[in-house]
């Protein structure tokens, strides 16, 4: 069991996060908290840790959905645009409906954002399966279409959401002032659900089967089209959820929201170990991948490095990591082949 744990990809990622966290804790220095007057570590404090998790949560929630698509052998470039459209749609509907009680506001906002995500995801899935066009092309197109719809319908304005939604998204849950754990908790819940879905249900195993070998899956009687559509639906749904949490947390939505997030989301999934050729990946690893990417961003600032290097550092870390992983896989395959030959 210990060997299995040591071999798991999650443990490796956790170790890297802990290592980076340790370096940051040692190197960050300290400052006086203006409220308490106490001297606190500039990284290892509850504000920074929850803030880091919050920053990661929007990517991570979408990364769980993107991982499903990637495991099935596809790709979804439209999640950032779904994020924008779902947030804008929820904000516009709530504005049009006027003041409501908190529960109704929450229900309408969540319903609209999730509904828009669901519709967009379904549209992506049906287009990919129905037209038999590579998902890269379809979602590249919908990425622009959906952002364009958000742009036109919102007239490019930033639309405020009701304060009651922000109060929910920024509830401190007894942790103390200025500590907002709700996005982090949603991220953990989504990751747990994604993990159970992928590892503990027949539907989840079907996704791995389709991504691992689509032809064999077809001969085995799996309904490929339905499974492929399903992963895009879930990806869209989770983008809608992330949009709802994000717009509620920050208090507004605009068509510019989520610009470029698709790349962070895909990077999170890939850093989390998902294979772009399909058949490999996990929800927990995707979340950890998102956390690591945000932690790298955080470290650039905590260590007072020139932040203009952020993209170079993140991009290089992703490329080098994947190249080393592939080299390792080839090395292992050769070693196994030599062993079999002997």
């Amino acid at each position: 069991m210990i060997r299995r744990a040591l071999a798991s990809s999650q443990l490796g990622l956790v170790l890297v996060i802990v290592l980076l966290g340790t370096i940051l804790t040692i190197s960050a220095g300290s400052h006086v908290d203006p409220r308490s007057g106490l001297e606190i570590n500039s990284f290892l404090n509850s504000y920074t840790l929850i803030q880091t998790a919050t920053d990661a949560s929007f990517f991570a929630i979408m990364a769980v959905g993107a991982t499903l698509v990637i495991i099935a052998g596809g790709i979804d470039l439209s999640v950032g645009s779904i994020y924008a459209l779902a947030g804008v749609a929820a904000a516009m509907v709530l504005r049009a409906m006027g003041p409501m009680d908190s529960l109704a506001t929450f229900a309408v906002g969540a319903g609209v954002a999730l509904g828009v995500g669901l519709v967009c995801g379904t549209f992506n899935g049906l287009m990919v399966v129905g037209l038999k066009v590579h998902p890269f092309i379809i979602t590249l197109g919908t990425m622009w279409i959906l952002r364009g719809i958000a742009f036109v319908t919102s007239e490019a304005q930033s639309i405020l959401l009701p304060g009651s939604l922000t109060a929910v998204a920024k509830a401190s849950l007894g942790l103390g002032a200025a500590l907002y754990p709700v996005p982090m908790l949603v991220m953990l819940a989504v990751t747990a659900c994604g993990s159970v879905y992928l590892g503990g249900t027949v539907m989840g195993r079907h996704i791995f089967a389709v991504g691992g070998n689509e032809e064999a899956s077809r001969f085995a009687g799996l309904r490929i089209g339905r499974i492929k559509t399903g992963v895009f639906v879930l990806s869209g749904l989770l983008a809608g959820l992330a949009a709802f949490i994000g717009a509620s947390f920050y208090g507004s939505a605009s068509s510019a929201d989520g610009t470029g997030y698709e790349l962070y989301v895909i990077a999170s999934a890939v850093v989390g170990g998902a294979s772009l050729s399909g058949g490999k990946g996990s929800a927990v690893s995707a979340m950890l991948g998102a956390l690591l990417i945000v932690l790298i961003r955080q470290s650039i600032r905590t260590l007072h490095f020139d932040q203009n290097y952020e993209w170079i550092i993140i991009g290089s870390a992703v490329v080098i990591a994947v190249v080393l992983d592939q080299a390792s896989a080839r090395f292992t395959a050769r070693r196994l082949a030599r062993g079999t030959g002997r």
Binding site: A7, S9, G12, L13, V16, L20, A28, G29, S30, H31, D33, P34, R35, S42, N45, Y47, T48, Q51, D55, F58, A156, Q157, S158, I159, K170, A177, A178, Y250, G251, S252, S254, A256, D257, T259, G260, V271, I296, S299, I300, R301, T302, L303, H304, F305, D306, Q307, N308, Y309, W311, I312, I313, S316, A317, V318, V319, I320, A321, V323, L324, D325
Partner: protein
């Protein structure tokens, strides 16, 4: 596991390499003033000059009062209100004593500004305000009046008649929308002026110049451009693509690459925001508020500087003195 060691190795190695160039050591608690500057985007030269101004003010204040003043540049690489909100929270978490921000999306940063103030970190805005937040002051131009000034100058250049277009940058930016509103309001005073449309674009020099050329081809009758930001004038493209005898431009901003347009007569008037002062004045006001416990007005108006051929040399030397290293020597020698 190899992937994770790869990530670890790559992150550490590259971060250390990057850090060698631009890092300042992480600080432990010490008396003084640390100001986090969060502009809209670090690839925009106007914000780089604001950074230069902020750093100059910090140096002067440190020397004058014997209190270390440090500037932390936390500006996102590209415009993103959500990232700005995250940077405000990070600044507070990392022990900065004040935040200076130009808001990409006021709705997105209101909450983060209020949180920062509630945690004892005062926030000041510049260039683009968040008036509904708890920020203690705003320093910048009045955007409506800026738009009006652009239109009035353009009308004067065109003799009060002819079709014009408005070049408007990012449609999401509230300050730019106000400037457009100002241009349109002022245009109503000139019955001979017709606005064919307002054109939005990605705020890069190339995208902006391409948009101008596209519009010019689509509306060959155009005689004037009201540019509420100087994006296309950062490239020399329009110097050859537009005829100064036929077309006149009046634009906000007058940074070194734009000065050639004044000299050639294509943009006879540029309305410069002294962007260096965004940083310089704001850091001084923050020092007044935080260190000297003085009252600071909520709105600190910035005046536009009218740049024409008559004061091109003076303006060029002013830019050089503010730290711009790319001011053409020919202009420095002008009157």
């Amino acid at each position: 596991m190899t992937r994770w060691f790869g990530i670890s190795f790559a992150t550490t190695a590259i971060a250390l390499a990057a850090g060698c160039e631009g890092a300042t050591p992480a600080t432990t608690a010490k008396p003084g003033l640390r100001v986090a500057v969060i502009a809209k985007a670090s690839d925009n030269p106007v914000f780089l000059s604001a950074r230069t101004g902020a750093e100059a003010a910090a140096k002067e204040l440190s020397q004058k009062h014997g209190i270390p003043v440090e500037i932390g540049w936390l500006t996102p690489a590209k415009e993103d209100g959500q990232v700005q909100a995250q940077r405000i929270a990070q600044a507070v978490n990392e022990g900065f004593n004040a935040v200076l921000i130009s808001c990409s999306d006021a709705g997105k940063v209101n909450g983060a500004i209020n949180d920062a103030v509630d945690r004892g970190v005062p926030v000041m805005t510049f260039d683009s305000d968040a008036p509904e937040s708890k920020r203690f002051a705003f320093y910048g131009v009045d955007d409506i009046k800026t738009g009006e000034a652009v239109m009035n100058e353009l009308a004067a250049q065109m003799g009060g008649k002819g079709p014009i277009a408005i070049l408007a940058g990012n449609q999401n930016a509230p300050n730019l929308r106000k400037r457009v509103e100002g241009v349109k309001q002022a245009a109503t005073k000139y019955p001979g002026i017709t606005i064919v449309d307002t054109f939005y674009h990605v705020e890069t020099p190339q995208d902006a110049a391409a948009e101008v050329i596209r519009v010019q081809n689509a509306y060959p009758q155009l005689r004037g451009w009201a540019m509420i930001g100087g994006w296309p004038l950062f490239t020399p493209t329009l110097l050859t693509d537009l005829d100064p005898a036929r077309t006149k431009i009046v634009s906000v901003d007058a940074l070194p690459p734009e000065l050639a347009y004044v000299e050639k007569g294509l943009a006879p008037v540029l309305l410069a925001q002294p962007t260096y002062l965004w940083g310089y004045v704001s850091v001084q006001r923050i020092f007044d508020k935080v260190q000297l416990k003085q009252d600071v007005p909520q709105i600190i108006p910035m005046e536009l500087v009218r740049v024409t051929k008559d004061n091109l040399g003076t303006w060029a030397r002013q830019l050089r003195d503010w730290g711009f290293s790319d001011v053409p020597a020919a202009y420095l020698n002008m009157k």
